[in-house]
C-alpha cells in the first residue's frame, strides 16, 4: 500500500507516529510480508499433498486452507459479477460457502499432481495496490509451472484474492464458469447454491 492511499485521518495519525518513532515504519504490509504469508500457504498446501490419502480428505484440507487464506467474500462477489448486486446478504454468504468447497475441489484436483508437494516461493513484488508472489510447482518430467498469488491487505489483513496458473486467472475463469452456471439456471442464484451444494457434497 503506497502512502498516497492514506486518508487524511491516517495521515494525521501517521505524522504523529512519525514524530514519536522516526524510524518505525507505519505502512501496513510490505511485499516481504506477502511473501511470508504465501510461504505459510504453500507450506500448508505442500503438507496436505504429501499427506494425500484420499481425494476427499485432500479436498477437505484445501477447503480449510482456502477459508484461512483467501478473501472469500470479495472473491465470491467478483465471480458472481453483476448478479452479486441483486443478491441478498444471506445469498452471498451461502454462495461464498459453497464456492469455497467448489473451488477447493477444482484446484485440489489440479494441484494434487504436483510432485511431493513441491511448490516453491521464488519471490515477490509490490504491484501498485497489491502484492504478487511468484511460485513454481514441479510436475513429473516437465518444466515447472508458474503459479502467481495476488495478495492484498485491503480487507484489514493480508489475504489472497487471486491466483494465476500459467497465466490463467482464477477470478476470470471462475466468473466465466459461474456466469454460465447461472445462465443455465436462468439467473436463479438459490438454485445455483443448492446445485453446487449437491455437487460438492460427494
Amino acid at each position: 500500500m503506497g502512502a498516497n492511499n492514506f486518508d487524511r485521518r491516517t495521515l494525521l495519525l501517521a505524522s504523529c507516529a512519525v514524530t514519536a518513532f522516526l524510524a518505525t515504519p507505519i505502512s501496513a504490509s510490505t511485499s516481504r510480508d506477502a511473501e511470508k504469508f504465501i510461504m505459510r500457504l504453500t507450506k500448508d498446501i505442500n503438507k496436505s499433498i504429501e499427506a494425500h490419502v484420499s481425494d476427499a480428505s485432500l479436498f477437505a484440507q484445501f477447503e480449510k486452507i482456502f477459508r484461512n487464506y483467501a478473501d472469500v467474500s470479495t472473491i465470491s462477489r467478483y465471480v458472481l459479477g453483476a448478479d452479486a448486486r441483486n443478491a441478498t446478504t444471506k445469498q452471498l454468504a451461502e454462495f461464498g460457502d459453497v464456492f469455497v468447497a467448489y473451488v477447493a475441489r477444482k484446484y485440489g484436483s489440479y494441484f494434487k499432481d504436483f510432485i511431493g508437494g513441491e511448490i516453491k516461493v521464488l519471490g515477490s513484488r509490490a504491484v501498485k495496490k497489491y502484492f504478487e508472489v511468484k511460485t513454481s510447482a514441479k510436475l513429473r518430467g516437465q518444466e515447472p509451472m508458474e503459479v502467481l498469488f495476488h495478495v492484498s491487505d485491503r480487507s484489514g489483513s493480508l489475504l489472497l484474492f487471486n491466483l494465476y496458473v500459467e497465466g490463467v486467472s482464477m477470478l476470470l475463469s471462475e466468473r466465466n464458469e459461474i456466469g454460465s452456471m447461472l445462465d443455465k439456471r436462468r439467473g436463479d442464484l438459490d438454485k445455483l447454491i443448492a446445485d453446487m451444494r449437491v455437487l460438492t457434497a460427494s
Binding site: D71, I75, Y78, G167, S169, L172, S173, S180, K184
Partner: protein
C-alpha cells in the same frame, strides 16, 4: 523468411491485415462463435469416443519410462523448428539454449529418448510460428476452434501451417517422417492422460465447455506470448474499490 516478415510489416502499416492486439487478458473476439460451437461439439465427441480411451489404453499398456522416452523423442524432434522460430524472432539467446539442449539430448540422451537437459533443469523456451507472427506484428485475429486440433486463434492457426511448411524435418525420408509422426502421436496420447483432470473438468464438468475452453485457452496463449496487461488494476478496483 525475412521477405515474409517485411511483407507482413508493410501490410500492417498499410492496414491490409489486422494487426490489433488484445487490450485485456480476457478479451474475446469470436465472430465465428456459431461454427466454432459446432466444431467444439465435434471435437468433444472425438475426444470421448477415440482420444480419451485410446490414450488411456496406450498409457496403461506402456511402462512409464517407455512413455516418457517416446514423448522425449518427439519433443526433441521439435527442437530444430523451435530454434528456427527463436531466430526468426531475433531471440538469439533462446535459440542458442535450444540448440544446446537439442545437441545434448540427441547425443548423450540417445537420440532424444532421454531428456538429459531436463534433469539439469534445462528446458527449451517453448515457441512456435504463431508467436513469430505475433512478434512480427500480426494481430491475434479471431478465436477459432480447429477440427481435431481444438482451440486456436486465426494467427496461431496460420502459425501451425507455417510451422509445418518450414519444419526442417520435412527434409527427412518418408520412413523417418513416419517414425516422427508416430512419436508425436504417442506424445499427444501421453499428454491427454497427463492433463486428464484439467481436460475432463473443462470439457465434461463445466456448465458451458465451449466458453470455458475459450477463456482458458486465450489466457494461457496470451501468457505464453508474454502479453502484458494493466487490466489487473480494473479487477482490483472492482474487488476493493478505486481508493
Amino acid at each position: 523468411m525475412r521477405g515474409l516478415k517485411i511483407v507482413l510489416m508493410s501490410f500492417c502499416l498499410t492496414g491490409l491485415v489486422a494487426c490489433d492486439q488484445p487490450s485485456a487478458i480476457g478479451e474475446i473476439n469470436d465472430p465465428h462463435e456459431e461454427q466454432n460451437r459446432k466444431m467444439h461439439e465435434l471435437n468433444k465427441a472425438v475426444d470421448q469416443a477415440v482420444l480419451k480411451p485410446v490414450a488411456q489404453t496406450y498409457s496403461d499398456m506402456l511402462p512409464d519410462p517407455v512413455e516418457d522416452a517416446v514423448s522425449n523423442f518427439a519433443n526433441n524432434l521439435g527442437m530444430p523448428s523451435n530454434v528456427l522460430n527463436h531466430l526468426a524472432q531475433s531471440e538469439v539467446d533462446y535459440a542458442i539454449e535450444s540448440t544446446g539442449i537439442f545437441l545434448i539430448n540427441s547425443t548423450v540422451g540417445l537420440g532424444g529418448l532421454v531428456d538429459v537437459a531436463g534433469w539439469n533443469g534445462q528446458y527449451a523456451h517453448a515457441t512456435d510460428f504463431g508467436e513469430t507472427l505475433a512478434k512480427w506484428g500480426l494481430g491475434e485475429g479471431a478465436y477459432v476452434e480447429l477440427p481435431l486440433l481444438g482451440p486456436s486463434t486465426e494467427r496461431a492457426a496460420l502459425g501451425k501451417l507455417l510451422d509445418r511448411v518450414t519444419n526442417p524435418l520435412s527434409q527427412l525420408s518418408v520412413a523417418q517422417q513416419g517414425i516422427a509422426t508416430a512419436a508425436k502421436i504417442g506424445e499427444i496420447l501421453s499428454d491427454r492422460v497427463e492433463y486428464d483432470d484439467v481436460i475432463d473438468q473443462t470439457l465434461y464438468k463445466s456448465a458451458d465447455s465451449y466458453s470455458q475452453t475459450r477463456i482458458l485457452y486465450l489466457q494461457r496463449r496470451r501468457n505464453q506470448l508474454d502479453y502484458q496487461f494493466d487490466g489487473e488494476d480494473s479487477v482490483f478496483e472492482e474487488l476493493y474499490g478505486s481508493k
